[in-house]
Structure formats: structure tokens, C-alpha cells
Point group: C2
Chain length 131, copies 2
């Protein structure tokens, strides 16, 4: 069976939202996972800036619109089942709202859970009220 | 507020299943995204082999049990919201059931969708009936 070449993820199959993984295009670090609806995907593709759909706020989330920690998209991939997106990005500042470069800053081992990332910015400063 | 150090993802918050990203521990390639329930996570942590929960089959999916394309887990991370897992793995053979090294073998650009990966194995051979 030939491999299909979809122009976008299969949002309908996935219930309207697909997971989107953001990976540092330069060093390969996985930065975060968020969700996309068709509008978020289309805007990301068209503008070259990562746009997600915030499930908690119920609206488009233009990554970095508040913190300045934008993601410039280098390339976009869709997986074999067309229900997951991978973005390779150039990350400005910290991807994580906790101020870490990556959201995956905690490692779980059979013995313990430990913080393995360095905090780049103070979350209160990045997301607090601007003067 | 201090950073919490959970021993497992917050499955309850996520509705029972969390996305799990598998990344090549050596070259950083994102290989696939699948789902984990508490049993899949616990078995992965205990055995050092990636185990997911297959939503389509409704049961644990010990990656590679049919194809031999197992994932040996090098390290496990949980994201800031504790609702996504990142596994760094050593992948035997192809991660993708289509025979590609990674499931993200199709790139979407504003102009086209194209295959960018090389097929390592014939899916019919990997998943067909064994003699």
C-alpha cells in the first residue's frame, strides 16, 4: 500500500486535537508537548511560529505571546498515523512555564525523581505583570 | 512554590492515559509517540523496556513483542504538568510499523508533503506471520 502524503494531521480521527511535540532543531532536545487543532496547525504552517491550542483556556495559544519565549519553526513532520505532529524549532529563552529550557526537567528512576535541568528564567518574571 | 518530584505521571488528571514520546538516546531523533496507562508506566520503569497502552487493542503493548523492534529504556522524564512522558531509548530496528526508523518520516511544508525517511524494513516481513 502506498504511503499517503496528507497536508495536515487527521484531526477528525483524533477527536479534534492532536499532540504536537516541539524539539530543538539544533541540539535535538525535546522541549515540550502541547496540542493543536486545525487552526493552530494552519497558523503554524503559514506563519512559521509555533501556535498551539490551550485546552485549559479553550483558545489558540501563540507560544511566547506573553513571555516572549517564541518558537520559530524550522520544519514540521506528521507521524505514520497522522495523529501526532513534530515541530523542529528554534526556541527563544525557556520552553517551560516553570522557567526551564525544556518541560522535561524531572527524571524518574526506579529509586528517585530528580531535577536534571537548569532554570533559565524566573517564572514570576517571565509571566508576571509587565510594568 | 517548590517543584514537586512525582514518582509517576498524573494519570488521573489526564483521564487515565498520558502521551509518551520515545527519543533515540544516542542521536536525539524523535521516534514515536504512544500512550501509557499506570501499568504501562510501572512496567517500563521496572523492566527497562518500553511498554505502552494500545488504545486500538485496549491492552498493554510491549513494544517489539511481535516485530522484535524493542526499545531499551535509558532514561525517563516527566514534564512540568506531569501529564507527558519522555523516554530516551535504544531502538532495535525500526520504531515505525511502516518500517521507517521514526514514525515522523513525512515532512509538511507550505508547498508539499514529502517522505524524508528511509524505509529500513519491509512491514509485511516484520509483522507478517512467522514461519
Amino acid at each position: 500500500m502506498p504511503i499517503s502524503l496528507p497536508r495536515e494531521p487527521d484531526f477528525a480521527k483524533a477527536g479534534g486535537l492532536v499532540p504536537a511535540i516541539a524539539q530543538d532543531a539544533d541540539n535535538g532536545e525535546v522541549l515540550m508537548m502541547a496540542w493543536m487543532n486545525p487552526e493552530a496547525f494552519a497558523e503554524t504552517l503559514a506563519t512559521g511560529r509555533a501556535v498551539y491550542f490551550s485546552r485549559s483556556r479553550g483558545k489558540l495559544w501563540r507560544k511566547g505571546e506573553e513571555s516572549g519565549h517564541v518558537q520559530t519553526v524550522v520544519s514540521i513532520f506528521v507521524d505514520c498515523d497522522a495523529d501526532c505532529v513534530l515541530l523542529k524549532v528554534r526556541q527563544e529563552g525557556a520552553a517551560c512555564h516553570e522557567g526551564y529550557r525544556t518541560c522535561f526537567f524531572r527524571q524518574i528512576t526506579p529509586e528517585e525523581t530528580k531535577i536534571v535541568g537548569d532554570r533559565l528564567v524566573d517564572p514570576a518574571e517571565a509571566y508576571g505583570k509587565k510594568p
